[in-house]
């Protein structure tokens, strides 16, 4: 593991990505102190104000400061990403490890279920789930979490299969160690590397998905400073000012890019065999 960190440290792209992620984390944590204005405060005088000394990134149609909204948007995006990925990671790992460990019909069932879910385009599936749950930030996290569960599930299952019949697992089993214990002690540690990579990459997907759902109007509350919502509103106001749509999009791109870069870097660092392979998201 230390060696992996070392390798990651020598990758300039990944370091850059980590720096940007750190910056977003700082924004998210300290948003009220960093943002120059209240992200909800409307001002008739600043309506559609282009970028300038007063509003660095301009103001939107309600005269709300875009910089402040972008900074607060980091909060929403990262929180949605964290919890959605957390849901997908735990549910996926649980299902995947169980399927891989017990095999037979359980494996068949879970694998088929993953295949079925995979057959639906992620945004479409998330949209229908959002329609079921209703629009709210919590529900966005749940919807994205469900959609990405099979990705983690597949990886967990594959890695579990690889160690299931290993001698040390057999030995543990013959010594009468319980299934739960074996999975926790011997299987889980073995799948951490691919899971860490996937978690990082999934942050990128989750941020994109939240933006897309909000853009389509089935995401978070309409006045929330979410990057997706800002972009969607900016699209309606394109003729009045480019800055309303451009900056939130830039923020999404930067965040997604840094998670992708770090994910790639982690892959290279943790699993040198995969080096250079562009795996498909």
């Amino acid at each position: 593991m230390r060696e992996a960190w070392h390798r990651l440290g020598r990758n300039p792209l990944a370091l850059g990505g980590l720096t940007v992620i750190a910056a977003f984390l700082v924004c998210a944590a300290g948003a009220p102190f960093i943002a120059p204005y209240d992200p909800y405060a409307m001002s008739e005088g600043s309506m559609l104000r282009p970028p300038g000394p007063e509003h660095w990134l301009g103001a939107d149609q309600f005269g709300r400061d875009i910089l402040s909204r972008v900074v607060h948007g980091a909060r929403i995006s990262l929180r949605v990403g964290l919890i959605a990925v957390g849901i997908a990671l735990s549910a996926g790992t649980l299902l995947g490890v169980i399927a891989g460990y017990f095999g037979r019909w359980i494996d068949q069932l879970v694998s088929r279920l993953f295949e079925v879910v995979f057959a639906f385009p992620d945004i479409l599936l998330a949209l229908v789930i959002m329609a079921i749950l209703g629009p709210s930030t919590t529900n966005v996290m749940i919807a994205i979490g469900i959609v990405y569960t099979p990705i983690f599930g597949r990886i967990a299952r594959g890695s579990t299969l690889a160690v299931r019949n290993a001698t040390y697992v057999e030995a543990a089993r013959s010594m009468g160690v319980g299934h739960g214990m074996i999975m926790a002690r011997h299987v889980l540690p073995n799948i951490t590397a691919p899971m860490i990579i996937q978690t990082t990459l999934s942050f990128a997907f989750a941020i994109l998905a939240e933006a897309a759902l909000s853009f389509l109007g089935l995401g978070v509350e309409p006045d929330a400073p979410s990057w997706g919502i800002m972009l969607s509103e900016g699209r309606n106001w394109m003729q009045h000012g480019w800055w309303i749509a451009v900056f939130p999009g830039l923020a999404i791109t930067l965040a997604v890019l840094s998670f992708n870069v770090v994910g790639d870097g982690l892959r290279d660092a943790l699993d040198p065999r995969l080096r250079g392979r562009g795996d498909v998201p």
Partner: protein
């Protein structure tokens, strides 16, 4: 080959059944009601009950599922409660838009990605490789809908070259059709290009490291011929697979781009069905997209099996 095809089909069967179950029940979990959407803000309970009976929405859900499945198997996806038109016909009429969009974006992606991927792999570690890496990362990171908005800002509003949305059929007016499809095609194709490029580069690197390529190089096969004849040919197999999967995926995954450019395709249809709580239409669309995905994957698998002699069937 025939046996392999048959086995793959058999394996796909439970997945297809699962898809139908999810498509049906998931959609029916959606709160709200076709009937009230249909009647608007002002209706009476009697009217609503009559309509519910008409669309058989008053029977037990499981019964409804089997009735629906029976119809689906005989090629009848039901009738949209909102427009009164057959769902299958509606999907087919929207399919042309989405298929054209997918073809343009895949075409663009392959045209850009394969050469770039090959060059990156050949000149590994060099400047082209760096450009390709950056392109690959940017491509999967830039949201397609933001790219679409940027295109509209530049090409429609600032330069006034292209229409900012809408659709004209290829048959009616080919030039206008291309003008409408260029921006959405590119916006959607960028991510695909990135994925295909990364895949091409990776596959090329693998192949270039194989013994037979080293052997050929040692034998003095010209560089150009080596790359194209020996390496690319083999590297293309996984690339074809990825491209195929992406095509299947884009059929329903183009929702956001269709929304940005007001393209009346499958994605927008699904969105409208959600908005209107048009169960039959939403079930039909979701089912169609998922089944198309499975079938395209199946096809890609079969092509793969044909292309790659190492696979036994």
């Amino acid at each position: 080959m025939l046996r392999y095809t048959f086995r793959r089909l058999l394996l796909a069967l439970p997945v297809l059944v699962g898809i139908s179950v999810i498509a049906f029940f998931m959609v029916r979990l959606v709160p709200g009601d076709t009937v009230t959407a249909l009647l608007g803000a002002h209706y009476s309970e009697a009217e609503a009950a009559a309509l519910r009976q008409k669309y058989e929405l008053d029977r037990p859900l499981v019964v409804q599922y089997f009735v629906w499945l029976g119809h689906v198997l005989s090629g009848d996806l039901g009738v949209s409660a909102f427009t009164g038109e057959p769902v299958l016909g509606t999907i087919v009429s929207r399919l042309a838009v989405t298929v054209q969009l997918v073809v343009i974006s895949i075409g663009f992606a392959v045209l850009v990605a394969v050469p770039l991927g090959v060059m990156a792999a050949v000149g590994r570690g060099g400047r082209t490789d760096f450009v390709a890496t950056v392109f690959g990362l940017l491509g999967i990171s830039v949201p397609g809908f933001w790219l679409g908005v940027l295109f509209i800002l530049l090409f429609s509003l600032y330069l006034g070259w292209l229409p900012s949305g809408g659709f004209v059929s290829l048959v009616d007016d080919p030039v206008a059709n291309l003008r409408h499809m260029a921006m959405p095609g590119l916006a959607l194709g960028m991510a695909v290009a990135a994925v295909v490029m990364r895949m091409t580069r990776g596959a090329m690197l693998d192949v270039l490291g194989e013994d037979y390529v080293r052997m050929a190089r040692a034998k003095g096969v010209p560089r150009r011929r080596l790359i194209i004849r020996h390496a690319l040919r083999n590297a293309l197999i996984p690339v074809v697979t990825v491209t195929g999967i992406q095509a299947g995926y884009l059929l329903g995954g183009s929702i956001v781009i269709e929304q940005v450019f007001s393209l009346p395709g499958i994605g927008l249809l699904a969105l409208q069905a959600i908005t209107n709580r048009d169960y039959a239409l939403l079930q039909g669309t979701v089912l169609f997209v998922a089944v198309a995905f499975v079938l395209i994957n199946l096809l890609v698998d079969l092509i793969y099996a044909r292309l790659d002699p190492r696979i036994e069937y």
